[in-house]
Symmetry: C2
Amino acid sequence: MQESGYQFIGYRRSTDSAVTFQALNPATGQPLPGLFYSASVGEADQAMQLAAKAFEVYQHASGKTKAAFLQAIADEILALGDALIQRAMAETALPQARLEGERGRTVGQLRLFAQYLEEGSWVEARIDPALPERQPIPRSDIRNMLTPLGPVVVFGASNFPLAFSTAGGDTASALAAGCPVVVKAHPAHPGTSELVAGAIVAAAQKTGMPEGVFSMLFDQGHESGVALTAHPLTRAVAFTGSQKGGMALYQLAQQRAEPIPVFSEMGSVNPVILFPEAIKARTTALATQLAASVTLGVGQFCTNPGLILALETPELDGLLQQLGAAIEAATPGVMLSAGICENFSASSAEMLAQEGIELVGKTQNPANEYQAIPAIAKVPARHFLENPRLHEEVFGPFSLVVACVDEAELAQVIQALPGQLTGTLMAEVSEIESYRSIVQQLQNKVGRLIFNGVPTGVEVGHAMQHGGPFPATTDSRFTSVGTAAIRRFVRPVAYQDFPDVLLPDALKRDNPLNIWRLVNGEWSKS
Amino acid sequence: MQESGYQFIGYRRSTDSAVTFQALNPATGQPLPGLFYSASVGEADQAMQLAAKAFEVYQHASGKTKAAFLQAIADEILALGDALIQRAMAETALPQARLEGERGRTVGQLRLFAQYLEEGSWVEARIDPALPERQPIPRSDIRNMLTPLGPVVVFGASNFPLAFSTAGGDTASALAAGCPVVVKAHPAHPGTSELVAGAIVAAAQKTGMPEGVFSMLFDQGHESGVALTAHPLTRAVAFTGSQKGGMALYQLAQQRAEPIPVFSEMGSVNPVILFPEAIKARTTALATQLAASVTLGVGQFCTNPGLILALETPELDGLLQQLGAAIEAATPGVMLSAGICENFSASSAEMLAQEGIELVGKTQNPANEYQAIPAIAKVPARHFLENPRLHEEVFGPFSLVVACVDEAELAQVIQALPGQLTGTLMAEVSEIESYRSIVQQLQNKVGRLIFNGVPTGVEVGHAMQHGGPFPATTDSRFTSVGTAAIRRFVRPVAYQDFPDVLLPDALKRDNPLNIWRLVNGEWSKS
């Protein structure tokens, strides 16, 4: 393709920049084929102008129309075949099976949103019919539904090059809501992003979407991302990545003349509490389960269990011996980029150097400079409570076990934690009732509680919550995974005494879409 | 009462400040009886500490328990009898009938929330049951419901001393959500606030609520309001008032170490579009309707129609003659405070001095220095488009008519408007279909569209949307009126593979609360 590496501005490929960059193979540090151009501020403006123009039409697209578009995107991604998987492997060092699974997840969530749109009840139609006889004054007919906010900017994430990137959950939910999307491609996997953006554009053209419903900019630096976030036509921003990046975008958006919502998902340490009876009953199973979750995807999940809390007991020592042995036997893995790997090694080493820290286990198999060495350490709770450095996330396969002398100290540790995406309870049903207050305290810190499972693996469904109290995310009231993610990009609009002819179909008096509506406060299809 | 004028810190009345202030009668400028103490930063901290402590218990209160509390507040407010109305009249100069109506609205919305809680489906329970047989991996059981955020700070508004103040919609919805509330009383009606706060505290004690579920601070200045907003235990803030105040709190909250949502409702000019056929068919009726809405409550509503848009036609001139005559015959009204009245006179005069402005009508009846003189002016659209000063709200009984040469210019005017709470269409059904694009453009600017009605009078129901794109409010995704206002103060929490014994009742497998739940994406009570 002649235009490879150019920006996607609506249906055009173009560039007005001379600054280029290449993707690097994280397993070798060598550049990969393909030259990508860093977008200019002018190109960011072009993409946003086109998106705003497209919004005028796309906001009125029916559920069926948008569903056909999302299905076509899924089809086009699958049609890319093995070329997509191979390029993603080269750019991220993630294994083939993982990337094939992630492609399944990406395509699956596009299709789930398509079904959600076809069913149609997601607009939360609320209807309070007129009460002309009411005293002292009659009640007007008021009808309310969710409507799209406008153009959305999505930042691709490095750790899920498909499911949280160009056509990931943020893009899928924004397009489902009726919002055009401008993606800022993650510079670590530009080739993967380009293939997927091509699939989205092909789908948009085949299904007759207005030009500008999707654009994507490459940029090795921050300039175009800042320009997109600050652009007056941008109505919301979605970001998954570091605390530093997420907060920079958030602050930028709040300082605009017109502040806009920024949904930054910035990861967390995802505390796992091991309760005494569970440790006794399932020592080996727990050690195996935890070792697998800590090292899954080289620990590069936002739900990686980075913190393990337990009461100090002889049985805990027994479990940690097995966990240590499992980590020692683990295989070092190539991380997503050389920078991430360097950060991991440095943070992991810094953690191990803190006062009171004791090594539980560290992988013994040889690793090269691009590979992370998984490790688990232990610290008494009193040190943890005194040292905020120990509360921070080490992005990668590292977990810290905090041993508490009693339940009161365990409660103190939970109290000291910042907001988290998840919290996990490893417990026997028989013992957990006596720890209700611990469960409650954990709930106040997290978006999702897991009972006897692992936090990694985030189901894409209607009930999922992926988002927790700050600083896990910038807005705990929304999820970035699952169908409810669509709510980030909509607002309610009320119509008072409107004639049927002017009402959207979802609110018309005879319910032509046959959707669930809240009529006088009761769900109904009539 | 010996402690009159002291802060309400949980169930105590106390003060540690020597700074006092008095309410002024806006009709005379004279001080009213009663000395109120400006709260200290230390008292703000005490109130928040108690609120956080109360949250530990109150967040688990059942719908029935919270409903009983809200009903008791309504009862206690009614039990205050005429003393409340008299004090509110003295402090606000609002007439008796208006305040009695507002009390009805306040009590009514407390009772509506009580019913909403008793019914219980508002928690939006979402259930994706386990699929143990699913390939390639089984699906976990995931259950999700809305849970309260934590302590909420509410700022009383000056223009609705009951319905948007101490026990107004913000307090009612936050308490309904399960959040303790700390109110910063509006300094223009401290006596009214004290009576209502006493009613809330009595209700809390009678229904056995934890101490700290409600506190209220007086302050003539900003210090304690700033301290409450910046306090680390505060989880959300609700404010109704000026752009300046609302934005100051918003910016303050975004600069906290942990940013929190601020719902500032900052008013708007609420454009009303008069379409040609409607003007022809209903000249006199429209003139009467508009004159009444502009002068209602001395124009001190956030939904006051401050902007009237129309195509320049001979019929428009006819209507404006009648509208002008109606305004000339209007009665000047005492405004909420001397400061508000001065601001109104100055802004109104400044508007009338702008280029291209022509007076349509101005009240001829004599007014004293505490009374506002209602006025309506007209300006050609080309001046309006060039002069941003003309886009600003004049808080009080003032409206600007913008005459457009054609539909294209009308569209330009709408495009130039900032976000609004409401937009109104005065049109014949027969003509409106040919103005679809105008309707659409207006919709993108507002939270509520009204057809052949007036924007004043905001129904408290399930379908109301009171909140619009910035700068009408800081977050257009939420409403501050109606049952959906509860959503501002909650976040979803997901429970994965939880045993029934640990689940909240709303999520238990046999649906003991018999509420509507979204099971596999379908609303159901089974």
